[in-house]
Amino acid sequence: MRKLMNPSSVNEPCRHMVGLLNRTADGRISPWFKWYALAHAARCPGCGQFLDQLRVVLSSLRTSGEQSVPSDVEARLLNGAWRDEL
């Protein structure tokens, strides 16, 4: 595994791991690949940091999607002109 790690920078992930780390962070990955990515990230500082930062970004983005429609707007939309078309 050591040969597959990026020795040049602790701030950058290994090129070949970027896709796997992204999919690990967003959860759209099979268990085996997830295990491989996590095992790699645990030993590789660049990938470990990349995965941690990605998780923070994704968690913040998910929180930003928890807002709902103001009730007055929702009421107007639910009774809009679309009802006449059905």
């Binding site: 759209r28 990349f50 930003s64 999607g65 709902s68 707007v73 059905l86």
Partner: protein, 191 residues
């Protein structure tokens, strides 16, 4: 050839049984109306105006109702977002208003947040404001993918259907967009 394909005269509304009309409407309401929050969030992000967002969603629902018979039954959210993107693009074209990032944070506060503690909410909003700025600074093709995949948590396939691009393009744009976000937020010492 089936007989109904030979029909030249359109079906009069009086010929359609009332319960068929009701089922048609019920199905639309059941599938489309739960998508209202997603559509509204997307519209506010695309137009940057609460008023225009409401118009865009209203027109999207109208166009969806008109085209409901042509909906193929797959990925209703993607189909609605396709319609919404076209409507938003028309609205932006008509208003000829350049999209500014200044109003975005104010707009975020117009959206109703989901019952948090005041301090927690203020803290979150500060970080959210920086996050919104970072997302808005992305090129539009990246921004849309982040909104669909990371904010709305749609699958790559649904996002691809919404934007009418291949799944591989969604993945590569998403990964590049996240990298830009990560770099931008690291500069602001948020992460």
């Amino acid at each position: 050839m089936p007989l109904f394909l030979n029909r030249t005269k359109p079906i009069a509304s009086s010929e359609v049984p009332a319960d068929a009309v009701r089922r048609h409407r019920d199905r639309f309401e059941y599938l489309v109306l739960p998508e209202l929050p997603v559509l509204y969030r997307m519209a506010t992000r695309l137009t940057r105006s609460a008023e225009e967002a409401e118009d865009v969603v209203g027109q999207t629902l109208l166009n969806a109702a008109k085209g409901w018979v042509s909906f193929d039954g797959r990925y209703v959210r993607s189909w609605l977002i396709q319609i919404l993107r076209r409507v938003a693009s028309d609205v932006r074209g008509h208003s000829q208003r350049p999209v500014s990032t200044a109003s975005t944070v104010e707009l975020e506060s117009d959206l109703v947040s989901s019952g948090q503690d005041v301090h927690e909410e203020a803290e979150m909003r500060l970080t959210q404001a920086e996050l919104v700025k970072a997302v808005d600074a992305l090129p539009e093709s990246f921004r849309l993918i982040v909104l669909l995949c990371d904010v709305e948590q749609m699958s790559y396939e649904e996002a691809a259907a919404s934007l009418e691009i291949p799944v591989g393009t969604v993945r590569s744009r998403l990964f590049r967009a996240r990298r830009q976000l990560r770099d931008a937020l690291a500069d602001w010492q948020v992460i």
